[in-house]
Symmetry: C2
Subunit: 330 residues, 2 copies
């Protein structure tokens, strides 16, 4: 692998000069420039970014921590992050933390050791004290991590309200919310609160079923079946679209017709769901905007580590109509 010094020799200039043309810095004569460029071409030269970073230049790498990209929601989010960051000259180290605290900790340490410029985290392992003392710019998606780490999220509260309104509007009287287990401090609890508020305003009640986020789809399916068969449920709000898919499955196996017998609305509204399951009503999170904002905030912090940022940034959601929440005339 050719190094800067080789170029210098071939072009018959000093290493400094080569460095200058690479970084387009200081004043160079055209002649020198072309000589150096020629040499670079000839040796197929690539500057060693490790050495540059060691000299204080940033490595232009962002650590991205999410539960896992096999989930279409996080897949789309990570893909969006990668795309936007690429155009700004950054690359990403992908960390699938799963539900594994140890792994997340290990990654955090590693990211520090690798001198990444910043971190975007949307993992589900809370209570990682390490986040407090990472001396690095961090932005979080939809999770509380630590005092001074800004959280960007969709308007969970409004999303919950809207979901409830749509179910009521569709003619449901006996509604149920199926959500991941309640996590203290997590903004996603607001989905539940918004939902509750609206239902109560209508003097109705609702059932709450919590299913651990990391339960297998089979387990989830079983619990859903229980809920659907034991109660007179005629409307369900799932706090994510994949769970909606399971509800559709179970409803079918129980002979419940959607939307005739049961109305259903989910949350997330990924491109995947909208394209491959347009029948599903859902609350769409503005992924593109969320990512844009997170990156914007992160780059601000990178430029100026002590710049003041708010703790919470909330972006509006959008209701996506779908056959599963169609109003039923009685």
């Amino acid at each position: 692998m050719a190094k800067l010094e080789d170029i210098a020799k071939l072009a018959e200039v000093s290493p400094t000069t080569v460095s200058r043309v690479i970084n387009n810095y200081g004043s160079l004569s055209e002649k020198t420039k072309s000589k150096v460029f020629a040499a670079m071409k000839e040796l197929n030269y690539q500057p060693n970014s490790l050495a540059r970073s060691l000299k204080g230049k940033s490595a232009k790498i962002i650590g991205v921590i999410f539960p896992g990209v096999s989930n279409p929601f996080f897949g789309q989010m990570v893909e969006t992050i990668e795309n936007q960051l690429f155009t700004k000259g950054y690359r990403i180290i992908l960390c699938n933390a799963g539900n594994n605290k140890e792994k997340e900790r290990a990654y955090l340490r590693m990211l520090i050791a690798n001198q990444v410029d910043g971190i975007i985290a949307g993992s589900h392992n809370l209570e990682i004290e390490e986040y407090q003392q990472v001396g690095l710019p961090i932005i979080s998606f939809d999770r509380y991590l630590s005092e001074n780490i800004p959280i960007v999220s969709s308007d969970n509260y409004q999303g919950g309200k809207t979901a409830a309104e749509i179910l009521l509007e569709s003619g449901s009287k006996n509604v149920q919310i199926i959500s991941g287990a309640n996590r203290p401090n997590s903004p996603t609890n607001k989905r539940l609160e918004g939902f509750r508020k609206t239902i109560e305003e209508h003097d109705l009640e609702f059932g709450l079923t919590e299913i651990k986020f990391d339960a297998s789809p089979n387990i989830k399916g079983m619990k859903i079946k229980e809920v659907l068969s034991n109660n007179q449920v005629d409307g369900v709000f799932c706090t994510d679209d994949l769970t909606s898919l399971l509800v559709v499955q179970q409803a079918k196996s129980l002979g419940l017709k959607i939307p005739e017998d049961l109305r259903l609305i989910g949350y997330d509204g990924t491109k995947f769901i909208q394209e491959f399951h347009p029948e599903l009503a859902t609350i769409e999170q503005p992924i593109e905007d969320i990512v844009t904002l997170m990156i914007d905030l992160l780059l601000k912090r990178i430029k100026d580590p002590k710049c003041q940022l708010k703790q919470n940034y909330v972006l509006p959601v959008k209701a996506i109509a779908g056959e599963t929440s169609r109003r039923i005339s009685k």
Copy 2:
């Protein structure tokens, strides 16, 4: 950020000694070790991996190039890669090449500059001459990239055969294959060949519909509708499961019942599809094994860059039964 020298001062030893305890190298007294460890704890020390790599140590980073992780298949594959690599002490830089040659080229250059230890590539942009001259270990998933780059893939030929057999077995006479556009040199063409072989052995014919891989789902849906409505199709093999989902959609909108009027089988068999769409018959690629093999080969090449590897490694597929290919009694 504390550095090695700070530890040395605090522990009252030389930088060399600290380095030795970090790398567990040479002979150290217990006393010295514990002093150094204590100092490391106290200063919350993380060795700077940039500096280490610069000194010849590998950075333990692998570049991973795929079309995009928002597709559940690539999502699962990338997640699996990340998981397995993590346990071996490697991290990944994620590159979503999309269908953008320029981006893929840029990433390739970047990965070289970043001194990654190797690359796993499964992108769809062929004819990237650059792959030939990357002086780095590379393993490819299911794509021909260059002469000496090993390709790992599922048994596409057998997969195509099995799909055809299942459709025939299910009672279909007028079958159709819906696939991404034919790419020269791509092993996935074998799916088509295997399918053709079996159909012809039964003295039947089949229709072929090619839809560009990167077409939007709406466009794809439109073409599928055409196919389903113009011909007397009663059996469809989609070379990926997402396209199957679209066929289900269109069949429904045309009033075609599956499997009564139309049998359907897909390809890929991700966990996502198996869990959330168990009704879909499909040919499952052994993602876990594919990844294990790719990583195994890659690490071999990393250890010994001139070790000889075969050009092709083919792993067996598995037919996943599903309601959509159920045999219909006439």
